[in-house]
C-alpha cells in the first residue's frame, strides 16, 4: 500500500463549505422549477418526463456533492450506478410488460368493461343465465331449480 495518494490529496482536506451552500441553492431552484412546471400542465408524456428529469438532476447533485461521490474512487460509483441500473430495469420491464398486454387483461382499463370478447364465447354460448334462473340464487333450493 503506497503511503501517498496524490490524486486524493485534495480530499484529505475536504471541499470547502461554500460548495454545500451552492448545491443547496441549486436544489431549491430545482424544487421551485419542478413545482412551477407542474402548474403549467405540459402535454402528457412531457409532464412526467420533465418532473423525472429535474428529480434526477437534483438527486445527482445530492449524490455527487453531499454524498461525496464526486471526490471518491470508482468502486462506490459502481455500486450506486449498478443499483440505479437494476431499479431502471425492474421498473422499465414491469411497465413494458403491462403496456404490451392484451388490453382485456388489464383490469384497470376503463375500456375493458365495455369490450366484447375477441371471438365466440365457447364456455357460455348462449350467454350467462338470467339471475333468477341461476342455481345459486338465494331462495332457490337445490333440485327444484330449472334443469339445464
Amino acid at each position: 500500500m503506497a503511503t501517498t495518494h496524490p490524486p486524493h490529496a485534495e480530499h484529505e482536506q475536504g471541499p470547502a463549505a461554500m460548495r454545500y451552500w451552492v448545491v443547496w441553492v441549486l436544489l431549491l431552484v430545482g424544487t421551485f422549477l419542478t413545482f412551477g412546471l407542474s402548474r403549467v400542465h405540459l402535454p402528457s408524456p412531457f409532464h412526467l418526463l420533465v418532473a423525472l428529469a429535474i428529480a434526477s438532476g437534483k438527486s445527482m447533485l445530492v449524490v455527487l456533492f453531499f454524498m461525496h461521490l464526486w471526490d471518491h474512487p470508482g468502486a462506490n460509483r459502481l455500486v450506486f450506478a449498478t443499483s440505479i441500473f437494476f431499479i431502471a430495469l425492474l421498473v422499465g420491464l414491469v411497465v413494458m410488460d403491462n403496456a404490451t398486454r392484451y388490453d382485456l387483461l388489464n383490469p384497470a382499463r376503463g375500456a375493458t368493461l365495455q369490450m366484447e370478447p375477441p371471438g365466440p364465447d365457447l364456455l357460455t354460448p348462449r350467454g350467462p343465465p338470467e339471475p333468477s334462473r341461476r342455481l345459486d340464487t338465494p331462495g332457490v333450493e337445490e333440485g327444484t331449480g330449472p334443469s339445464r
Binding site: 500500500m1 503511503t3 495518494h5 486524493h8 475536504g14 471541499p15 463549505a17 454545500y20 451552500w21 448545491v23 443547496w24 436544489l27 431549491l28 424544487t31 419542478t34 413545482f35 407542474s38 402528457s44 418532473a51 423525472l52 429535474i54 428529480a55 437534483k58 438527486s59 445530492v62 449524490v63 456533492f65 453531499f66 454524498m67 461525496h68 471518491h72 474512487p73 468502486a75 462506490n76 455500486v79 450506486f80 449498478t82 443499483s83 440505479i84 437494476f86 431499479i87 425492474l90 421498473v91 414491469v94 411497465v95 403491462n98 403496456a99 388489464n106 383490469p107 384497470a108 382499463r109 376503463g110
Partner: protein, 216 residues
C-alpha cells in the same frame, strides 16, 4: 489544538487494515452497498407505483389533487435544507470542530421534527377525509376507479420514508452527542460521514416522491 493526524488517527485503525485510508474506503464502500439495498427496497414500491400509475393515469392525477401541495413543497425544502446542515456538520467534524457539528446536527433534528409534524398533519387530514389505503378507502368526493390503490401506494411510500426519517434521526442524535463530546475532533470523522449518507438517502427518496405523489 488538532494533533498531528498520523499519530492521532493510528488509534482508530482496526488491526486488519493497513492504514486509516483503506479502512475509510472499506467503510464507505460498505455503506454504499447498504444504501444500494435500501434503494432496491424503495425500488419495489416505485415499481408498484409505476404499474398502477400506468394503469390508472387519470385517477392518479385526480387523487393527487387531494394531497396538499403546499405541505409537500414545504417538506421538500425542509429535507433539502436538513441535508445541507448534515453535509456542513460532517464538514466541520472533519475539520475538528465537533461542537459546531453537533449544533448543526441539532438543527437537522429540528428540521426532521418539522418534517414529521407536517407529515402527521397530512396523514390526519387524509384519515379524516377517508383517503385510506385499499378497502378502508371511503372518500365521498373521490370515487374514481383505482383511487384506493393510489392511497395504498401513498401510505406505503410515505410510511416507509417516514420510518427512514425516524431511523435517520436516531443515528444523527447519537452522532450529535458524540460530536459534542469531541469524539471526532482528532482527524477521524467517518461515522459522521456514513450517518450523513443515510440522511442524504432519505432526502434522495423524497426528491422523487415529491413530484410523483404531489405534482401529477
Amino acid at each position: 489544538m488538532r494533533p498531528e493526524p498520523e499519530a492521532a488517527t493510528a488509534a482508530y485503525v482496526a488491526h486488519h487494515f493497513p492504514d486509516l485510508r483503506t479502512q475509510e474506503h472499506a467503510a464507505r464502500l460498505g455503506m454504499w452497498l447498504f444504501l444500494a439495498t435500501e434503494l432496491l427496497l424503495f425500488g419495489g414500491l416505485f415499481t408498484a407505483y409505476s404499474v398502477y400509475r400506468y394503469l390508472y393515469p387519470a385517477t392518479f392525477a385526480e387523487a393527487s389533487q387531494h394531497l396538499s401541495v403546499a405541505a409537500g413543497t414545504i417538506n421538500t425544502i425542509v429535507l433539502i435544507t436538513s441535508s445541507l446542515t448534515v453535509a456542513l456538520a460532517h464538514h466541520y467534524a472533519h475539520h475538528g470542530k465537533g461542537r459546531r457539528a453537533a449544533l448543526l446536527l441539532l438543527v437537522t433534528l429540528g428540521f426532521a421534527v418539522v418534517f414529521l409534524l407536517i407529515k402527521a398533519w397530512e396523514w390526519s387530514h387524509d384519515f379524516h377525509e377517508g383517503l385510506l389505503p385499499g378497502r378502508y378507502f371511503h372518500s365521498t368526493e373521490l370515487t374514481a376507479n383505482g383511487a384506493p390503490m393510489f392511497f395504498t401506494l401513498y401510505f406505503l411510500l410515505t410510511g416507509l420514508h417516514g420510518l427512514h426519517v425516524v431511523i435517520g434521526m436516531t443515528v444523527l442524535a447519537v452522532l450529535m452527542v458524540l460530536c459534542w463530546l469531541g469524539t471526532y475532533d482528532h482527524g477521524y470523522s467517518t461515522p459522521v460521514e456514513l450517518g450523513g449518507m443515510y440522511w442524504h438517502l432519505v432526502d434522495l427518496v423524497w426528491i422523487f416522491l415529491y413530484p410523483l405523489l404531489y405534482l401529477i
